[in-house]
Symmetry: C2
């Protein structure tokens, strides 16, 4: 499985942070002697448990020329070990009434099982086993490579939006590997081999580069005891270093990408801006951007929806997106789908005019209060979804944030002012760092 | 010193290939036992010699995150060795009445001295010395880093065209390091250190990764004897491998870059297309593109000049550029400077219409004959410039070509037909792989 930036955004929006006070009650943090971080989220309403291991290694940690290796390795992790047959881990989970899967993103790769709480030890035993004893044959490599190539076919090559997003991302980043697709460029995926997989595995898969997140019907003491038993014996990898990747140079020229495809059913305009991410101890600007995306594009009272969908009727859909959970610089994204008879050019001009008038007008205090109230409410509802909390911790802790950052975030959002939001818009929504994409129908037969 | 893509183009145009037959007479090729390639170009009209060592290592061979290290090392090569003081090589050349310098490009780094012919042994002695015995102190590293940062200031940061070209290049390449500037991104240059320089030096500087090119008043036997004496004892580096770099994925979305700068005196439109390079044994398409650039944009009778400068008067300058000497995929470039009162938009539309009408109309056979005749003539005149020939060999041999490819090129150009040229235009000048740049005056005060 593989998470795109957009999917991560959606996940973020569906599982917003929970209230610090209540969240802190349910969350316990440990660290094993070998450096493995452990997070426990208690929820005793049902006798089930979710067991996740998150590695601080994603596609943006890949060596140049080997795009897709993080995701390929994720697939290969379901092959055998010294004691597990290929596929045996998943079949054991299923035989125990559970389900398992994995996902790869720019900044992390994660593996999880959801099973009856009394099977947690078995899950850890198998997960710890494949953390260091992975075996893969040449045959498995070749056949699994066909699987990821077919996955790319389905997700990207057969999907105009997928291809469009790939070209937009590549234009957004001039130097950083966030410009390279998580699933990989096809021509590089075709060359991925056992050696590349083993190199990535040896370099990144170690307890001191992993976060264990267990949620559900468990106590912290139980989890700690089991973690010590199963993960404790794995030695730390002393070669794990700080994650330093090539960063962006100043972006000083506005970019545009026009993608034409006969398969496009609905043309639209995508606009992205390079944007700061949430940094540990420094989340203020990100908080303002998070609320900016809500004020502009979330819910029926959002500014852009009001202006462009209801008043001017130039759009059938407008959206604004910002996650902020990212190890390095991320993006603030806008989308406008023009109404029937409105050109992409006119839709884009209307979008830009609406943003300019928003910056001029400022934030409606009542709307901001409403949004903050909704955030509080959704943070409370989110407590019902411990797996969502577990995901939130795993994602944040592998993206440069700490437990303190996560717990500070909900209250931080409440302190953001209308002025903060306008200032964030003014400084981030600038042409120099932007990419504007037009997804167009290719009706004409070109020579 | 540093060669930009545009400068390399200009150099190529100023020193076109010479006639195979005549050129072959003057050129001799050897290989030393340690794998060092040796090219000798004889010219006995004056008692001088040019001694060059070209390394198959340029900015596109740098590790990600260390942009500028190839060029930085070029500077550091003028520091000391075990037996030469810092700066002593250049001062020795000057004391012997000569001059020396060096340059770095995407695919190579070259060092040269021009001196009296009887000093060739001394030049080789010093050049061989710094091929393996380079020493550099931390102080030298820090002060020379300021030199390259200042060089970047002058060439790029204080120059709107430099900044514009940098952003265009970054947009042209989605994956390949040709998208990263030769001089480096400033924020990465600031981190370059002794360790990075030594790593690049150890990895790439070795006789089996170098081409020795000597031109002037020498005989092949003399050169070979001296080369054996001075370069022969240096062991080959067995770790030198084939140069495989991350290649481009399919480019399927047209890109546009708009750069605004208050310092822009003359706005213009730049258009580039990803284009195949000259490959060893496979130069036909490149030959057609080379003639296409001549037919479209070189000399007063060029098609685009006729249509856009003289007939429609929408441009004060139009140019078309293609070199083809490149290890990996290169670009075909167009530039149009609009006439007074003509907008960039209109100039671009006129350019596109002119290209379309060219493809429709085909090549004027008389113009093509004239161009081929001029190429023959310039190839003969080029023989007067042996240093130009030496450069040509050095550049081609470090860009994936062989002596045979170089010698076949002039005749290959003569065989290109009008249909070949139109077919090359039709297949290469397509929107999907293109970048269009607008360099604009930034007159308005933006918020």
């Amino acid at each position: 499985m593989l998470i795109s930036r957009a999917a991560a955004l959606v996940a973020m929006l569906c599982a917003p942070p929970v209230l610090a006070q209540t969240m802190a009650d349910a969350v316990t943090e440990f660290e094993l002697d070998n450096g493995m971080q452990v997070i426990v989220v208690e929820d005793h309403r049902a006798p089930v448990v979710q067991h996740m291991v998150w590695y601080r290694a994603g596609s943006a940690d890949e060596p140049a020329g080997s795009s897709g290796i993080a995701h390929f390795l994720e697939h290969l992790m379901f092959k055998g070990t010294d004691t597990l047959e290929s596929g045996e881990l998943s079949s054991t989970v299923a035989a125990n009434g559970g389900r398992d899967n994995a996902f790869t993103s720019y900044d992390y790769t994660a593996y999880f099982q959801r099973v009856a709480a009394d099977r947690l030890g078995l899950m850890m035993q198998m997960e710890a086993d494949r953390m260091r004893n992975l075996r893969m044959t040449e045959d498995e490599i070749l056949s699994e490579r066909n699987v990821i190539l077919e996955e790319r076919n389905q997700r990207v090559d057969n999907n105009p939006r997928g291809l469009f997003n790939e070209q937009l991302n590549a234009a957004q980043y001039l130097n950083h590997r966030y410009g390279v697709p998580i699933i990989g460029w096809r021509h590089e995926m075709e060359t991925l081999d056992r050696e590349a997989a083993i190199e990535f595995y040896d370099r990144h898969y170690a307890p001191n580069n992993a976060v264990l997140v267990v949620s559900g019907d468990v106590t912290p003491d139980e989890v700690l005891a089991l973690a010590r038993e199963h993960y404790g014996p794995i030695p730390a990898n002393p070669d794990i270093t700080e994650r330093v990747r090539p960063q962006e140079p100043p972006q000083n020229a506005e970019r545009r990408v026009i993608y034409r495809d006969a398969r496009v059913a609905q043309p639209y305009v995508a606009r992205s801006y390079l944007a700061p991410e949430r940094n540990s101890g420094d989340q203020d600007k990100a908080a303002a951007l998070f609320l900016l995306s809500d004020v502009l594009g979330s819910g029926p009272t959002a500014y852009l929806k009001q202006v462009l969908e209801y008043d001017q009727k130039v759009a059938t859909y407008v959206g604004a997106f910002y996650s902020g959970v990212s190890l390095d610089q991320t993006s603030f994204d806008l989308v406008i789908v023009p109404a029937e008879g409105v050109s992409l050019e006119d839709a884009e001009a209307a979008l830009d005019a609406a943003i300019a008038s928003f910056i001029e007008t400022g934030v409606d205090p009542e709307q901001l209060d409403r949004i903050k109230m909704q955030l509080r409410a959704s943070q409370i509802y989110a407590l019902d979804n411990v797996d969502g909390i577990a995901n939130l911790y795993g994602r944040a802790l592998t993206s440069g944030l700490t437990v303190e950052d996560i717990e500070a975030w909900p209250e931080l959002l409440q302190t953001v002012t209308g002025e903060d939001i306008v200032e964030a818009a003014r400084s981030v929504l600038v042409p120099e760092t932007s990419v504007t994409g037009w997804l167009m129908q290719d009706k004409e037969v070109t020579q």
